[in-house]
Each structure stands twice: as structure tokens, then as C-alpha cells.
């Protein structure tokens, strides 16, 4: 079994991430199977719980693993397609750019990171976050529920901006000069929780599209967004082109 090399200067969690990724890609850990618990992985690789947690969360974020509340962490898929360049412009990747949307701001407040939000936003656990929850309507029908998390220090004035009539994208780029240079998108089908279902006028447990987005300016993660959209209103265009060898 491959072990952590403590002479290696690469961070321990990155080493562990690579080791676990290999196990998944080589199918040593089969799709659908449960991975060892955090405690078992700590013992197996002689590393701290924080190291295991960070490596596992990165694999969750990359889509290799999936966490199931109260059950454990499971292998979700064993490869991520690479080598395709997305031509779709950044603006088109925003659901919020649909001109027909009307917006209702359900919440705009400040909170501390809970669960894994500090890791998702790459901030310390004791740093404040701006939290925005918006409901999008088309012709008075609720279609999109969007929750946005922004490290407070990135843009404190967002707390006072008009976010019903301006997109966060525009505020970042035009008002604050924060240029979004990269967006990581993860799309999956999800089951609606009770509160989400109520807001989208659907039944609890119904299928919906979940888009998780990480927005970067250079190497800095400036925003994390979780958008839930009704499946009957879902249309997403991606134009892909393979890079020439």
C-alpha cells in the first residue's frame, strides 16, 4: 500500500488526496462502495483527522466521492473528464443572467462558516461570511433557489448593494474591480429538502438540478454558490472543443 512520504515537501493532505484518488481511479475502491471512516484513514496513513478531512473533502468537491448524511462517504465516480476546453462565456454560465428572472432576496446576512464551508471557501474557521439567499421567478413562478457564500473580506459593501436589480457578477466586476477568471461548475440531480421544496412549490424529495459553483479571481476563491433549479425549467448549454494535440 502506498503510504505518506514525510520527507516529501508536498502537503500531507495533497499526498493523501493523490493516494486516495489512485485507489478510486484504479478501481481498487469500487464505485458505490463505502470508504473507510475518518478514524480508520487516520490510523491507516498515520495522519491527523484534519488531513484526512481535507483530502476527503477535496475528493468530494472533485466529484469522486459523495457524502451521505448519517451513512458515510461513498465512491461516486472513478474518472473526471479532462482535456476539453469550455468555450461558453462566463456570463452564460450564470443562471442568474436570464433576463426574464425577477428576484426576491430572502436573506442577506453575515455568518460564521459551519460544516465544511471554511474548506469550500478556503478561509479560516473564525472568518465571517456574507450569506445571500435569493429566489428567482419567471412569470411569478418560482424556478431557482440560489444560496451564495462570499468571504466577508472580499467585498464587505455587498451588504448594502442592490442585489435585486444587479447581478453579483456585475457588482464584482464593474463596481469592485474583482475580475472573475475561473468558474468550477458541478451539476447533479438532487432531492429537495423540505424547505427547498416549499420555496420552489414542489414536494419534498422531488428531483431538482443542483448547480454548485466556485468562482475564482486569479487563485483566490471569491464566491461559492449553490443553485437549485426545477428540472422542468432546466436548460443548460455547454459548447466544448477538444484542444489540439
Amino acid at each position: 500500500m502506498e503510504l505518506i512520504d514525510r520527507e516529501d515537501h508536498q502537503k500531507l493532505y495533497l499526498q493523501l488526496y493523490e493516494i486516495l484518488k489512485k485507489k478510486i481511479e484504479s478501481s481498487e475502491w469500487a464505485i458505490g462502495s463505502q470508504i473507510p471512516t475518518e478514524e480508520e484513514l487516520c490510523k491507516l496513513f498515520n495522519v491527523s483527522r484534519a488531513t484526512v478531512r481535507t483530502a476527503v473533502l477535496e475528493l468530494v468537491r472533485q466529484g469522486y466521492l459523495k457524502r451521505q448524511q448519517g451513512k458515510g462517504t461513498f465512491i461516486f465516480r472513478n474518472m473526471i473528464s479532462e482535456g476539453l476546453t469550455m468555450l461558453t462565456s462566463l456570463r452564460e454560465l450564470f443562471f442568474e443572467e436570464d433576463l426574464h428572472f425577477s428576484t426576491n432576496v430572502l436573506a442577506r446576512t453575515v455568518m460564521m462558516p459551519v460544516d465544511d464551508m471554511d474548506i469550500r471557501l478556503n478561509i479560516e474557521k473564525d472568518k465571517h461570511i456574507i450569506y445571500i439567499k435569493r429566489m428567482r421567478f419567471i412569470e411569478n413562478e418560482p424556478v431557482l433557489l440560489q444560496e451564495t457564500y462570499i468571504p466577508y473580506h472580499i467585498s464587505p459593501l455587498l451588504l448594502e448593494d442592490d442585489i435585486e436589480n444587479n447581478t453579483l457578477f456585475d457588482l464584482f466586476e464593474k463596481k469592485y474591480g474583482i475580475k472573475i477568471t475561473k468558474v468550477k461548475n458541478y451539476i447533479e440531480i438532487t432531492h429537495l429538502a423540505k424547505d427547498e421544496a416549499r420555496l420552489l412549490s414542489l414536494t419534498e424529495g422531488a428531483f431538482a438540478v443542483l448547480l454548485t459553483q466556485y468562482f475564482y479571481s486569479g487563485e483566490t476563491l471569491v464566491m461559492y454558490t449553490r443553485s437549485i433549479k426545477r428540472t422542468d425549467r432546466f436548460k443548460f448549454l455547454m459548447e466544448l472543443e477538444r484542444k489540439s494535440a
Partner: protein, 173 residues
């Protein structure tokens, strides 16, 4: 008695304290207290969390005492047993064992809005420190919010700064 000092001279910034929305659970608040104060070895006086509504208006404060009281049902509904006279040592030892037992974990799922101390009293930045002192003493407050134009939450007054200001006036020759 306040040496002409006003609230804005002594107030501290609101980001000195962790923020949570009212729908966070007590357990989530406990984790935040642990991370922000205990693990970070930061022990401000008082140790508290600020509770906000969905429009970022201050709703209340949550001290360590509020949290612990919220985790023990006997504090929520005072019962005969919780008020056993001090001399009844046998009964007391039994009660100690039953405090903060398994129901504490269930209570941890309750929202913080149910156990916070509501923010009912405020001062303006230009108010004299003596007004802050009066409100804090009269209503037994550990933190007093400072609102600008009765709306924007801009700071907090703590007892330590109030004491410092008043004591300067007392000691002044």
C-alpha cells in the same frame, strides 16, 4: 461623570464577535464558540455571539451562559427538583448526574433564536457613555448595541469600557 465621552469613543467593532443568523442551531453556535474563542485562545469579556435576522438586523446576543441554559431543560422550565435546597446533599448529587444528559443533544438542534437574549435597548454613537452605563445596569446587559440613525448597527459597548470611563471620573482629582 463621563468626562464628556460619548459612545463612539468607547465602542468596539461588531466584527470582534462571531455572527450567526437566527436559524442556526445551538449546536452550530457551540462549534462557533469553540473555534472562535476556545481553540483560538481568545477570551473577550463577555464571550458572546451576535444573532442577526435575514436582513442583517441585530436580533440578540448569545453568551456562554445563554447557551448552557438552553442546553438544560430545567433552566428552560424551572422545576421543583432544580430548586432543591442546598442542604439536601443526597438529592443534589442525584440531580447533578441528570443535568446535561441525553436530552441536551436534542436541545442542541433548537434554533439560537429561542435561547438568545433579545436586543431591546440601544444607544446612538453620539450618546453619552453614562446613558450606556444606565441602560446596561438597569437591564443587566453584557453588551449594548450601538445603532446609527436608529438603524445601522455600527458597534458595541461593553461593561469594561463603561467602567473605565466612569472610574476615571471618580478618581479624577
Amino acid at each position: 461623570m463621563s468626562n464628556g465621552k460619548v459612545v463612539k469613543d468607547v465602542m468596539i467593532g461588531i466584527f470582534e464577535y462571531p455572527h450567526v443568523p437566527y436559524w442556526f442551531s445551538i449546536s452550530q453556535a457551540v462549534r462557533i464558540v469553540k473555534v472562535s474563542f476556545l481553540s483560538a485562545k481568545k477570551y473577550p469579556d463577555p464571550m458572546a455571539v451576535l444573532v442577526f435576522d435575514e436582513k442583517y438586523n441585530l436580533m440578540g446576543t448569545l453568551t456562554l451562559k445563554d447557551i448552557l441554559k438552553g442546553l438544560e431543560p430545567r433552566f428552560l422550565k424551572p422545576s421543583e427538583k432544580a430548586q432543591v435546597p442546598a442542604e439536601d446533599e443526597t438529592a443534589l448529587s442525584l440531580i447533578w448526574d441528570t443535568l446535561f444528559d441525553k436530552s441536551t443533544k436534542d436541545l442542541g438542534e433548537k434554533p439560537v433564536s429561542e435561547i438568545m437574549s433579545s436586543a431591546k435597548y440601544f444607544v446612538e454613537p453620539g450618546d453619552p457613555v453614562t446613558k450606556a452605563a444606565y441602560l446596561m445596569l438597569q437591564h443587566d446587559l453584557v453588551l449594548l448595541p450601538v445603532l446609527e440613525d436608529k438603524k445601522k448597527f455600527v458597534g458595541l459597548v461593553r461593561m469594561i469600557e463603561v467602567f473605565d470611563t466612569i472610574s476615571d471620573a471618580v478618581l479624577k482629582e
